[in-house]
Amino acid sequence: MTDSPTPSNAKPQLAARGVHKTYRMGDADLHVLRGVDMSVRAGEWLAVLGASGSGKSTLLHLLGGLDRPEKGDVEFEGQPVFGKPWGELERYRSLRVGFVFQFYHLLPELSALENVLISAMVPSGVFGWGKVKKDARERATALLQRLGLGERFKHRPTRLSGGERQRVAIARALINRPAVLLADEPTGNPDAETGRQIIDVFRELHRGGQTIVMVTHDRTVAAAADRRLVLEAGRVKE
């Protein structure tokens, strides 16, 4: 395990190349990322560490195609993520990466199973859904069972505990078999025991070859990752 911005011994699966990001806060510009270079290899588990406001979540949003950098680029398997034809960015977010948020962000009207399935519905369209529905349903069921939610399919998020909600969110992120799992403080909200359970889930996913980029401020949690990258004031700390 190394604590370096870029691994040297393999072709990166996902990389940020000199990305800058500035937010307008009232009259002032907040320069959140100031030329960040980083990459993650296929099958690698990378933890991005940093204090609050260091730009960790912003970096994750750029890597996931949710936000655009003012300068620099994000590359997935050697290809730039931005500047592609209409609809490609949405396909990237839907099929290449999967998001797990600190506050789960499950849709309250949907059951646990529907929250997972909706992620498969988004890229399939009305007519395509009929073809993939059976397969998606089986996969969602298997994922939820694997994450210990076999009895909670029909429960809506309000009836699930924090840990259960986060596991549903992980299943939702994994349903489309994304190349990279992007997790923003996945253990930030549940209690310590639940946090440990979530890390165990990540560990298992990692063993299965899943590439993971995990943002956390907790060094203990980060210790589970293959590699750690520290952000400080919008830069990678050397």
């Binding site: 949003h61 996931g64 949710l66 936000d67 609809g87 949405e90 396909r91 990237y92 977010r93 839907s94 099929l95 998001f99 948020f101 962000h105 499950l106 849709l107 309250p108 009207e109 949907l110 529907e114 909706i118 992620s119 519905m121 988004v122 890229p123 399939s124 369209g125 009305v126 859904w129 939702r172």
Partner: protein, 489 residues
């Protein structure tokens, strides 16, 4: 697919769409009810107007035109003409129960008028009405003396044998009333005529069997007043109720030949102006109008044209050139019906404008929903949903609410329109509130009818309004920045 799932879930789970649908429901119902009542009102007016005029009318001024009998014979042979009847119109002072009022007098042939306009259906009183009225005013039978009972039973028997409609159809009273011709005034002509709170007239206040004296003013053929007025007495044999108050309060039907004689417009032997001896020729009687009933399904404008052509040729052959107009019943009552039609259009537009409130309400409700769902929108964008996809969720949501609201509005409107008089009766029973007072309005019942085309157009407009109302919030939802949406508190 996710859009349909979310639309379905949002429809089922939230109170806000219920209010939005309710706004659409109420506006749809409101416009449909207004248009149905106004449409029913217009339809009743049209029905009454048609009943009074027939399908096509040939009309001259008050000096009239001659040779109407051969003209009618010829008219009856026209392919689209089913029946035709002459009519003599004049004005008079009517004296009833020592009260005098101006009236329009129409000399008619009752059987002919029945064939053209359904005269019999407008005759108001039957023996049953009279008996019902008598019974409603009688004290309990056990309080009557034997003599009173006998008188009552005799009266019931006598009335039971009386057929007021038959008297009116002959314009001739029963012989025991006296030797006078019969007249049929409008039900609101007699001075004592008034309606009760249910809009009904009482036979007790009617003028049937009383005498009516008309003071008529005969005219020369040039239209000048011809000497002294003429007086004519009649027995009222029935009263008519056409559905148009102005007509029912001002018109009296009398036998055509009696009116012709009183106005000096009857057929008579020609006399030499110098010697004053009969020339052996007969001068035809005159009438002012001929009413025509077209065959069922005939195009009235085509009938009018063929009648006009026939009448012109007929008059040319006889070297007669009176000023005659040939009109359809719609043209005859065009100003009056046009005004009601305009009122209907105006009310529909006004209520349509009020319905814009529904669009604004939907816009506000949807904006609140978008705010509430901001984080969900961020999540969906993170899952790969496009801006257009997010927009279409809310547009589809608006469409669904529009369809649900319009369907509920249609149901509500139909149930109100179909039961509007029963609802009014209940409101009156519970709160003493009467929205349609038959003692003010001329129709006893609130008129209404659902027109399929109008209802369909209103329902479609309601759905479109709902989609329009949801468009701006949907656009804003689509434009939301996914990162900001995810951070939204």
């Amino acid at each position: 697919m996710y859009k349909l799932l979310l639309i379905f879930k949002y429809l089922r789970r939230k109170l806000a769409p219920l209010f939005a649908a309710l706004a659409v429901t109420l506006c749809t119902a409101m416009v449909i009810i207004v248009i149905s009542v106004m449409g029913g009102f217009l339809e009743m007016m049209k029905g009454a107007a048609k009943r009074l005029t027939g399908d096509v009318i040939i009309r001259a001024d008050l000096t009239g035109f001659p040779d109407y009998k051969p003209m009618i014979e010829g008219l009856r042979k026209l392919p689209d003409v089913e029946a035709a009847t002459p009519l003599l119109r004049s004005f008079a002072l009517a004296k009833m129960a020592e009260r005098v009022s101006p009236v329009e007098v129409l000399g008619i042939e009752p059987a002919g008028l029945e064939a053209v306009t359904g005269f019999r259906d407008t005759l108001h009183w039957s023996a049953k009405d009279v008996l019902d009225d008598l019974q409603s005013r009688m004290p309990p039978m056990d309080t009557l003396s034997a003599a009173q009972k006998a008188r009552y039973e005799a009266a019931v028997k006598r009335i039971g044998e009386a057929d007021f409609r038959e008297y009116a159809m002959k314009l001739k009273p029963p012989s025991h009333w006296g030797d006078l011709p019969g007249a049929v005034p409008g039900i609101a002509v007699p001075p004592g005529a008034r309606r009760d709170s249910k809009g009904n007239y009482s036979f007790n206040n009617s003028s049937v069997s009383t005498k009516i004296t008309l003071t008529l003013m005969p005219l020369t053929r040039r239209g000048d007043v011809r000497g002294e007025p003429e007086y004519a007495d009649f027995f009222v044999v029935n009263e008519f109720k056409s559905g148009l108050y102005d007509i029912d309060a001002n018109r009296v039907y009398v036998p055509l030949e009696v009116l012709q004689a009183k106005l000096h417009m009857e057929a008579h032997a020609e006399r030499d102006p110098e010697t004053d001896k009969p020339t052996g020729k007969t001068i035809s009687g005159r009438v002012t109008e001929v009413m025509i009933r077209a065959k069922p399904g005939a195009d009235l404008h085509a009938v009018r044209e063929s009648v006009e052509k026939y009448v012109q040729e007929f008059l040319m052959q006889r070297h007669e050139f009176p000023l005659i107009a040939v009109e359809t019943w719609q043209e005859r009552h065009g100003t009056f019906l046009g005004a009601v039609e305009k009122e209907k259009g105006l009310l529909t537009v006004l209520f349509g404008i009020v319905s814009i409130v529904a669009v604004a309400m939907i816009a506000v409700i949807f904006y609140m929903i978008v705010l509430e769902k901001t984080r969900d929108i961020g999540v969906l964008r993170a899952l790969g949903a496009s801006r257009a996809g997010i927009m279409s969720i809310f547009l589809g949501y608006g469409l669904a609410i529009g369809i649900v609201g319009a369907a509920m509005g249609l149901g509500l409107a139909a149930s109100i329109v179909w039961n509007i008089n029963e609802i009014q009766d209940k409101l009156f029973e519970w709160f003493g509130f009467k929205m349609w007072d038959p003692s003010i309005y001329y129709f006893d019942k609130i008129p209404s009818r659902l027109d399929h085309t109008e209802v369909t157009v209103i329902a479609i407009l309601a759905v479109v309004s709902s989609v329009v109302g949801s468009a701006i919030p949907a656009f804003l939802a689509g434009r939301l920045d996914p990162v900001e949406a995810l951070r939204y508190e």
